[in-house]
């Protein structure tokens, strides 16, 4: 019996070579580039696309067949949606379509600003308490204290101190979000500090600022990015809640929460006033959450199977 291998090397008698196994596993398609990434992570694509649309709507609100969102027309109060008023008019005769589109600006501004500010503040605080031993105890007890006040109530309490304005809303929500981010950064920093490569860097005489810059910061980007999207989503919800209960943006600014607050008294007879801003808010928050879920799966494959 003579068996030939692929190399046509004769096999000595008495030895048998196992037959080649069929290729059971399908070839893994390696997708590269932005398009490949988006195809591998459809939730990022869907969330991102939706969010991009909303950003464009916000930017180009004046050119999307809108009228002045604050123009009052008492003769045309609470009209149902029609060809003239796509989303109807509110109690003062203002065009809800225009108000909702301009409201996109407020929500996105608040969401993005809070995400940015809370991330940077949280990063700074988290780094300090992760690296400066004596500050850690004090800072974290303080953060525990802030964290034990429910975020919406904290924002409400801060807003009660100041005038309603978009800037103050952003600051109030940021303060309420900072403890969570700094806790996250601190835990990442503490686990990274135990890594052998950080030990190696320390042993070879790298100074702490350089270690932070080269070894710690790059590793916080992933978790921070995911956290920032969730903060963005929650900030937009908190903003609309604050405006809805009268502690948010001033009533003169068309924000979704304000439009809903104005429609509240009439919602049983004129549900469309509440409906349109509510729908926009839900879609926006959904888009940001999808983006966050997708980014989490993409950046941390271990988590992909989990939550």
């Amino acid at each position: 019996m003579s068996v030939l291998t692929t190399n046509d090397v004769p096999v000595p008698p008495g030895l048998v070579i196992a037959p080649q196994l069929p290729d059971l596993l399908p070839a893994i398609k390696v997708r590269r580039g932005v398009i490949g990434f988006l195809r591998n992570h459809p939730t990022v694509a869907i969330g991102g696309a939706l969010l991009l649309c909303l950003v464009l709507i916000g930017i180009f609100a004046p050119y999307l067949w809108t009228v002045d969102p604050t123009a009052i027309a008492p003769a045309k109060r609470t009209r149902a949606p029609s060809a003239d008023f796509w989303f109807g008019t509110d109690l003062l005769g203002r065009d809800i379509y225009s108000r909702v589109l301009y409201g996109t600006r407020v929500s996105l501004t608040v969401g993005l600003s809070v995400a940015l500010l809370a991330s940077f503040a949280g990063l700074a605080i988290g780094l300090v308490s992760g690296f400066v031993r004596w500050a850690d105890g004090v800072v974290m007890r303080f953060m525990d204290g802030l964290m034990s006040i429910p975020p919406i109530l904290l924002a409400v309490a801060l807003m009660a101190l100041t005038r309603g304005s978009v800037g103050n809303v952003i600051l109030a929500i940021t303060v309420a979000e900072i403890p969570r981010v700094s806790r996250l950064v601190r835990s990442v920093v503490l686990s990274l500090r135990e890594q052998p490569y950080v030990d190696a860097a320390t042993a070879s005489g790298t100074r702490t600022p350089m270690i932070i810059l080269r070894h710690i910061l790059p590793n916080t980007v992933g978790p921070m990015l995911v956290q920032a999207t969730y903060i963005c989503a929650s900030a937009m919800i908190v903003e609309s809640i604050l405006s809805f209960i009268g502690a948010g943006t001033p009533p003169t600014i068309p924000s979704w929460g304000n439009i809903m607050a104005e429609g509240r008294a009439l919602w049983q007879v004129k549900p469309f006033i509440v409906f349109f801003p509510a729908a926009f808010l839900s879609v926006t928050v959904l888009a940001v959450n999808l983006l966050g879920d997708g980014l989490r799966d993409a950046l941390d494959p271990r988590m992909a199977k989990g939550i």
């Binding site: 409400v156 309490a157 809903m260 839900s282």
Partner: protein, 313 residues
Amino acid sequence: MLSYILRRLLSTVPVMAIVALFVFSLLYIAPGDPAVVIAGDQASPADVERIRQSLGLDQPFLVQFGKWLWHILHFDLGTSIFTNLPVASMIAQRIEPTLSLMAISLVLTLVVAVPLGVVAAWKAGSWVDRTIMAFAVLAFSLPVFVVGYVLAYVFALRLEWLPVQGYTPLSEGFWPWLSNLILPAVALGDVYIALIARITRASMLEVLQQDYIRTARAKGLGQRGILFVHALKNAAVPIVTVIGLGVALLIGGAVVTESVFAIPGLGRLTIDAILRRDYPVIQGIVLLFSFLYVLVNLMVDVAYTLVDPRIRY
């Protein structure tokens, strides 16, 4: 065990002290001088000064804080600027609807979310799992008032199955009380359900990969026995932790839900207090809810050291 519980109890003291300090600072830096408000329009500067002294407002920050804390520890939350009633009694009047709402939401969440999460983990990767998780993302993204208005519109206005708005005290019967709270509780619980379902699924997936689950299966235990006896029990700690942390969502959401469904609870009181800039009332509510939140999480911590023999401190 006892020493752990004691230590855990003591560790909440600094946290509550920081909350109290924060809440007191809120009143301290609030715009408007209480002495001027109390003295009225006709008062001379000397009168205002006398009232300020009698109220102790001329004393240093820490002295004032100490006195205020002393009062708080005796359940004296101060007096409302607007109604002149003690804040503690105003809160006591409004607390029943809010606690009822939160309790029903909590029960609903546990009954719905945990089984959903278990099923999703059991059928991981299937269409059942994907449907449940898709709903969880959706529910997580819908703001409380959006769900509230949709539910009220469909089930109360159109179908007329349940009352649209309002609240009936428990003392006037169980069903009138419950029927008014079903829709608000669903609206309030929805985000919470999504959160708990997701964490239950994640925690269960982890446990289902363990060796003892394979052993249980090998010795012929039924699927239900494995899931609910072996797996869920071991997956419980993260779930219970998130249930505790999620109470913050319930508290924040209650303020809005009460506004949508016209429930005369602490949420309404909060909104009225904001509109009137009634700082002592805002302060009292923030303090109460924070205390409640810390207490719930303390109980959660202690509960699973009692239940889970693996946790020893």
